[in-house]
Amino acid sequence: MIQRRSIGLADAQVAVAAVLEAARPSDGALAIAVVDDDGNMVYQVRQDGAGPVQVRAAERKAYTAAYIGRDTSMWRLQIRHDGRTVADWANPQLTTLHGGWTLRRSSQVIGGLGVSGSGDEERDEQLALRGAEAAAQLAVAAWRTQRDPRRIRDRSSR
């Protein structure tokens, strides 16, 4: 038997809240999706005004980031470098649109986060990163409470 880690609803909601908080009035209406380590949806929201294109793109970006284990922008560079296309993976759910971020814990993939709708691919990616950072911050917080202060000194806040 093996143990696998997965993002879970509580952390997914924290990540989505962080993206919403980071969004500026100049950004378009967003769709934000968080999937688990297998790429299956855990939590998705759509801001008022975001259309079906954004909903689907956010889900596909999150899925790709988790399934491939690469941020979608990085994966795009890799594919282009290798002279391949997305079709080589024979999975119609994949996308190389920027804005899909892989969520990891201890270098294991625990999920993916996708943002769409800001009006700019790079900005989608920035926003996705803010969500991923918030999720990673939860790991730091959990580590702080679990560590044995006699054995491990906390240097993370310096």
Partner: protein
């Protein structure tokens, strides 16, 4: 030009909170889908431990209720069973007759669908109705 009332994220979040508050320890982990009038998701949620198929089902139920303007049970009993047809006749692979999807109505017009999955289909519909009532409190 014409204008229409559409379901917003704020309402969807209110329904989400009402449903999560109504869950008891005897419920299995649930999946929730709230879709707009075209069946496009506004809010999707899957609790820890709920298999992925639960959310696919909830999505299908919400889509069915929204696009057909029918609760999924009405669709099953009055449109599919009563006419001795099968789902294939509708030509839409997203449609389902599983209980647990409810149409969201404002002033008689359908503005979306809300659906649950994870428990028995009876319980799914009861929980979806909790969300529906939470939506109604505002409109």
């Amino acid at each position: 030009m014409f204008q229409q009332l559409r379901l917003g994220l704020a309402e969807a979040e209110r329904a989400r909170d009402a449903i999560l508050a109504a869950l008891t320890t005897s419920d299995s982990p649930i999946a929730l889908a709230i879709a707009d009038e075209n069946g496009v998701p506004i809010l999707l949620l899957r609790q820890d431990g709920a298999p992925a198929r639960m959310l696919s089902r909830a999505r299908s139920k919400a889509y069915t209720s929204a696009t057909l303007s029918l609760d999924t049970v009405e669709f099953r009993d009055h449109h599919v069973k009563a006419t001795q047809r099968t789902l294939d006749d509708w030509g839409d692979p997203m449609l389902t007759t599983l209980q647990g999807g409810l149409a969201i109505r404002v002033n008689g017009r359908v503005v979306g669908g809300i659906a649950m999955s994870g428990n028995t289909t009876m319980r799914d519909e009861a929980l979806a109705r909790v969300g529906l009532e939470a939506l109604g409190r505002s409109t």
